[in-house]
């Protein structure tokens, strides 16, 4: 619905980037609408960081076009730098400086934006204002990095894996902050390999694998289009080899069945019909059932159904 109204804040066409032996980005097209939070979701090595750094003007693409806020890197670099907020994956800010000194430095590069103290308040680091960066926790460092990205009052915010490596509490805290900034009308491009992060923060996501976009849409749309609403998983234990998968596929309401290492995953539309039918079928096949579980389908399930692999190898 908003597609017709919102213009593109970022438009990427035919992006290509190869390193010595890998094609990191392989013909990518993207469009991020003004005011939305767009997620690039994909496993490690999918090409997310390469894509984002090309958009940020830090890496030159082999071919392809990037138009950002209606501007181009080869002609409007200075103007773009003033208007972008950037958080890179794995930047370590200087450990010997305090939080305040770091932000005062970054603030000095921009012609406008909140003051250092204000930026500290934005990311709720007031009590750490005079602490050395080296003494901050992982979550506090990420919040400081976010403050460094916000200190120029950017129109467009790039966040590359903002919560990777953080504990659940620190991640939730960061999500709250990012949600606040979304409401202030900024456009955000966020990369992540956490599906729950993308589901929670992003209006639309593009799923990337091997340098290519393999799916695009809102999290709901993606889940609805590529798999059924529910996932049913069970383990057949020692008798897994005797399982008749084809018979499971014939059960009413079952859309797909995957079997891996004795664990069976089924995509199901009507849970209340499918589960009793599954139990009956297993009894008929004389398969003992262990560890039955069901959950609503997630972006992870979308990724699995598209690629046959999990997002993270845990």
């Amino acid at each position: 619905m908003s597609a017709a109204i919102s213009p593109a804040a970022l438009r990427v066409t035919g992006l290509q980037k190869a390193y010595q032996d890998v094609v990191a980005v392989n013909g990518l097209d993207l469009e991020v609408r003004a005011g939305e939070c767009f997620g690039l979701l994909g496993p490690n090595g999918a090409g997310k960081t390469t894509t984002v750094e090309i958009c940020e003007g830090l890496t030159a693409p082999d071919s392809g076009e990037v138009e950002l806020l209606g501007l181009h890197w080869n002609t409007d670099a200075d103007q773009l730098r003033q208007r972008l907020g950037i958080q890179l994956q794995d930047t370590q800010l200087s450990e010997k400086l305090t939080v305040f000194e770091t932000l005062r430095l970054f603030r000095s590069f921009f012609s406008q934006g909140p003051g250092a103290a204000e930026a500290i308040a934005l990311v709720q680091l007031e009590e750490k204002k005079n602490s050395r960066v080296g003494n901050l926790s992982g979550g506090q460092k990420q919040r400081l990095a976010l403050a460094c990205a916000l200190v120029g009052d950017p129109d467009f915010l790039f966040l590359d894996e903002p919560t990777t490596g953080l504990d659940p509490q620190a991640r939730r805290q960061l999500w709250d902050l990012i949600e606040q900034f979304k409401s202030s009308g900024r456009t955000i491009l966020l990369t992540t390999h956490y599906m729950d992060e993308a589901e929670r923060l992003c209006e639309r996501v593009a799923i990337m694998d091997n340098g290519k976009q393999i799916a695009l849409g809102s999290p709901r749309e993606l889940i609805a289009s590529t798999c059924a609403e529910h996932m049913v998983a069970f383990s057949a234990g020692a008798k897994a080899h005797a399982l008749d998968i084809a018979a499971l596929r014939r059960i009413q309401g079952v859309r797909g069945v995957r079997s891996e290492n004795g664990t069976v995953e089924m995509q199901v539309t009507e849970l209340h019909l499918a589960v009793p039918a599954l139990l009956a079928e297993l009894t008929r096949q004389n398969i003992p059932l262990t560890e039955l579980s069901t959950h609503s389908a997630t972006l992870e399930d979308v990724f699995v159904s598209l690629t046959g692999r999990h997002l993270r190898d845990e």
Partner: protein, 365 residues
């Protein structure tokens, strides 16, 4: 114009951007970068030790070890009472009479500098190592004493006026050498390590992702270097003057110019050495490979003139040699800028060469 319609909500921000609030001096990016650079150095205890404490400890230690003592009394030996008696008249010799075997042993082991034994027909034989300056001195002193005891009268009268004034002692030679070494070390390490560390931590990449003017980044190094330089040079010179009365005979202004040019040259070398390296190990290997030959050849601890003539042009072309020669000429001979121009020329050439090459090679990531 298309932008106006495309981004209505962003338009207000864009208008604001055109009239940025005026900023105070301390909000200027160059000032901020310089402050940060300076703070980072001050908060690095190891760096402070190498820059400030190390040269003073070295100067103090070497100054004491090589302090000028009253002319040393040389130990010699004889094997006959007659010889002992005539040699004892020389105040600068300490004569021992020993048996022949133990005298030989003492000479071999360096306990005595010279052994005088009677030869055929009342002659005297001096046995000593002629590559040892003490041996040669002892030979002259001993022979003079023996000849005078035998009745020689010198045809020309002579007398001695003793000179032990500041400016000609080892410590006077050493302080400018240490100062030069310190200029080189702090500039190359200060530039090299921090740049490579920032590259390794992706902090350089983060900085170029901001609107920071890149030349400010370099200039901030220059300014914080100058701030450090004042302290660095002041401490070494002050220590030398206070403890050892090492003189500064040339003008302080030209001394300051030599230090500044030297420090900038070595900073440019540091920048060049750090232009590509991605690890601290790679960078320190490069820096040591460049600095070690200069520590040895450029005359920090002993005169570079001791090296063979064929390599002298190469040694003279080294930036540390130029810096130290200029510092010594200024401090000890009171040379002015005109006399220092060859050394300043060498430093300037290295500065331009290294800086241009560094800018060409430099990688922000």
């Amino acid at each position: 114009m298309s932008e106006t319609t495309a981004f209505p909500d962003v338009q207000a921000r864009a208008a604001e951007r055109k009239t940025p609030r005026g900023r105070t001096f301390s909000e200027h990016p160059l000032v901020q970068l310089t402050i940060v650079r300076f703070l980072e150095t001050l908060r690095e205890p190891e760096a402070l030790f190498w820059i400030f404490a190390f040269p003073i400890l070295l100067a103090g230690g070497l100054g004491i070890a090589f302090r000028n003592r009253p002319a040393e009394v040389l130990k010699i030996a004889t094997v006959t009472p007659a010889l002992t008696e005539s040699l004892q008249r020389e105040k600068l010799l300490s004569v021992q009479q020993l048996s022949r075997p133990s005298a030989e042993e003492a000479l071999r082991t360096g306990k005595i500098a010279l052994l005088a034994v009677p030869g055929a027909n009342g002659a005297i034989v001096y046995r000593y190592d002629d590559t040892n300056p003490e041996g040669r001195t002892a030979r002259m002193l001993a022979d003079r004493a023996v000849q005078q005891a035998a009745g020689r009268v010198d045809p020309v009268l002579s007398s001695d006026v003793l000179m032990r004034e500041p400016g000609s002692r080892y410590i006077d030679f050493l302080i400018p050498g240490l100062l030069g070494m310190n200029l080189m070390g702090s500039a190359i390490w200060g530039m090299g390590f921090t740049v490579v560390d920032m590259r390794r931590k992706k902090l350089l990449k983060r900085l170029v992702a901001t609107p920071m003017p890149k030349q400010y980044f370099l200039l901030s190094y220059v300014f914080s270097r100058i701030l450090m330089l004042v302290a660095e040079v002041g401490i070494v010179l002050g220590f030398g003057a206070w403890i050892f009365h090492v003189p500064v005979r040339g003008s302080l202004l030209s001394l300051a110019l030599v230090c500044l040019l030297g420090s900038l040259t070595f900073s440019a070398m540091g920048l060049l050495l750090a232009s590509r390296a991605k690890t601290i190990e790679a960078a320190s290997g490069l820096m040591n490979a460049v600095m070690l030959p200069m520590w040895i050849a450029s005359g920090v601890f002993f005169s570079a003139q001791r090296f063979p003539d064929v390599v002298q042009p190469i040694i003279k072309a080294l930036p540390l040699t130029a810096a130290i020669d200029a510092l010594r000429a200024n401090m000890l001979q009171g040379a002015g800028l005109v006399q220092l121009s060859p050394q300043m020329g060498v430093l300037g050439a290295w500065l331009i060469f290294c800086f241009i090459l560094a800018l060409k090679l430099f990688r922000w990531r």
